[in-house]
């Protein structure tokens, strides 16, 4: 009986110890507006660790910041040489693939996050991109290919060491969003880890949306497709007619 009470007491103590470090965060901007002159954006994510007790001396504080764009289903196709020409032969459907993913850490991912915790929280690229079912060719290869192609367009960023931590309390990282991002809510997760274990997590959302004429055109194209098509044609015909008329006059 006493042992059990003690065990419960000890467990409660342990869990409060885990909860004793909490994230307080801020961002340089609450949202990203995609305007006509949008060429990408840089967001500064910063924060502090609030504590009830002094920071443990035994382990180092590490921070992981992951920013994830809207998920889209994608198909990865692989080319092979058939009768001398290169054609798509195999394909894998990835059910969950982020249109943008950036993960910034205060150290090498393998050191700041244990594989078990990665499995639970889905932080590394291999865990974020998922594929269901059996496929014609190796799923790992297709995930690697996805990561490689996305990384080339800056749509996938692994920024190890990009989070700087001051005095074991203040942290900050810059995440740059390239110009070719899609709109949507960008899920942002911040993890505090010690010994590779997550001690606190804070989730927030960065809305990334088109504004002004960009928004108007996009909405029109989606919701009034026929009207949008007609508008495109009228503008095209008008531009052609005006050009012919202007040049006709210039010649006379």
């Amino acid at each position: 009986m006493i042992a059990r009470v003690l065990a419960i007491f000890w467990f409660a103590l342990a869990s409060t110890a885990v909860q004793s470090e909490q994230i307080v965060m801020g961002m340089s901007q609450d949202e990203v507006a995609i305007t006509a002159s949008f060429t990408g954006s840089e967001i500064l994510i910063f924060g502090a660790v609030s504590r009830d007790a002094p920071a443990p001396e035994s382990s180092d504080l590490e921070v992981i910041i992951a920013v994830q764009g809207p998920n889209v289903p994608v198909t990865i196709r692989k080319k092979d040489r058939v009768a001398g020409i290169w054609i798509n032969t195999e394909s894998v459907d990835l059910d969950i693939a982020p249109s943008f993913y950036a993960v910034a850490t205060s150290g090498p991912i393998a050191e700041v996050l244990l594989p078990l915790e990665d499995l639970r929280h889905a932080v590394s690229v291999g865990r974020v991109v998922r594929s269901a079912g059996q496929n014609a060719f190796n799923t790992d290869d297709s995930v690697d290919a996805f990561a490689r192609i996305q990384a080339k367009d800056n749509l996938l960023q692994i920024l190890e060491g990009a989070v700087s931590i001051d005095e074991d309390t203040l942290f900050r990282a810059r995440i740059s969003l390239p110009a070719n991002i899609t709109q949507g809510n960008y899920k942002t997760r911040i993890f505090l880890t010690r010994n590779g274990m997550v001690v606190d997590q804070l989730d927030t959302v960065i809305p990334v949306y088109k504004v002004g004429i960009e928004r108007w055109l996009f909405t029109l194209a989606q919701e009034q497709a026929a009207l949008y098509g007609a508008l495109s044609l009228i503008i095209a015909a008008l531009a052609g007619w005006v050009a012919a008329a202007v040049f006709g006059m210039l010649r006379r």
């Binding site: 002159s37 198909t75 497709a225 012919a244 040049f247």
Partner: protein, 302 residues
């Protein structure tokens, strides 16, 4: 100067796109081709998603064709009767073509078949035109041009008078030409001028003077139809991109029309043939060489 395209969802340099439109406009005005077979690969190259590139270039073709057509009408270079017959065939053809396109899409091999179509048709037509116009060019230096031959085309029923073209032939060949062009245009996502122009010259025996204007007349409607189809089914027409392309395009088309009038018909044909062969060669080589990235992503940005 950069601008963000609302549908393509990428940021591009304004002057680059204006320049692209201008170059394609010049070619369009010179040869009476819509330029779709050029502008679409060029847009891929500057990073526009393929679906958006195909749909938006259709819209741009409308603009440059209208501009070129108006100039041709003033020069009495349009056979509206012939154009209408070709158009009827074209619309039937593109309706069938869209069905075939969707079928291929389900089979997952649409890219390959589109590329093969490009290589085969551009290669064959470019090669034929090149040899013929080279011969014509050499012949014109030595002896007066031969009279047009009477071939099987002139022995079919339902004869009709095409006054501006100076032809009295059956409506079946122009209908078939229109149908074939419409079919290929829908599958390849182009206006079809590069097939139409040689077909009019060699198959129908139309004078080169009216070929360009008549081709432009037909292309406007085919491209407009394609634009509407893409806008409604895929929402991939980017108005901002189209506007930039067509500003460059309509100005280019005016210069092109004037350059085209200064050149001899044979010279014009040999230049178009060279251009067509070049594009065919590039696409053919791409199919044969090992790509640097074997994998591709489909689904993002569509």
């Amino acid at each position: 100067m950069q601008i963000y395209l609302p549908i393509a969802e990428v940021s591009v340099n304004i002057f680059l796109i204006l320049g692209l439109g201008g170059v394609v406009g010049i070619l369009s005005g010179m040869f009476g081709v819509g330029g779709g077979f050029l502008i679409t690969p060029l847009l891929f190259f500057v990073g526009i998603p393929p679906a958006v590139a195909v749909a938006t270039s259709a819209n741009q073709i409308v603009a440059s064709s209208v501009s070129g057509l108006i100039t041709q009408i003033k020069r009495r270079g349009v056979d509206f009767v012939m154009g209408s017959v070709l158009l009827v065939g074209g619309l039937i053809g593109s309706t069938i073509g869209v069905q075939i396109f969707n079928l291929l899409k389900e089979l997952g091999q649409v890219d390959l078949l589109v590329n093969l179509c490009y290589v085969v048709f551009l290669g064959v037509i470019g090669g034929m035109m090149f040899i013929e116009s080279l011969n014509a060019l050499l012949r014109s230096k030595n002896s007066p041009p031969k009279r047009r031959k009477h071939n099987w085309v002139h022995n079919l029923p339902f004869k009709m008078k095409f006054r501006i073209s100076g032809l009295y032939i059956s409506v079946i060949p122009p209908l078939m030409v229109g149908l074939l062009v419409g079919l290929l245009a829908a599958i390849m996502g182009v206006g079809g001028g590069f097939i139409m122009v040689p077909a009019m010259i060699y198959l129908l025996g139309m004078p080169t003077k009216v070929v360009i204007g008549t081709s432009l007349f037909q292309i406007i409607f085919v491209a407009a139809y394609t634009t509407m189809m893409h806008a409604i089914t895929n929402q991939t027409v980017d108005l901002v991109l189209a506007l930039l392309l067509l500003i460059g395009g309509v100005i280019g088309a005016q210069f092109g029309t004037r350059i085209g009038m200064k050149l001899k018909a044979e010279q014009l044909r040999i230049l178009l043939a060279g251009l067509v062969l070049l594009v065919a060669l590039k696409l053919g080589v791409d199919l044969l060489l090992e790509p640097s990235e074997l994998y591709s992503i489909a689904g993002i940005g569509e």
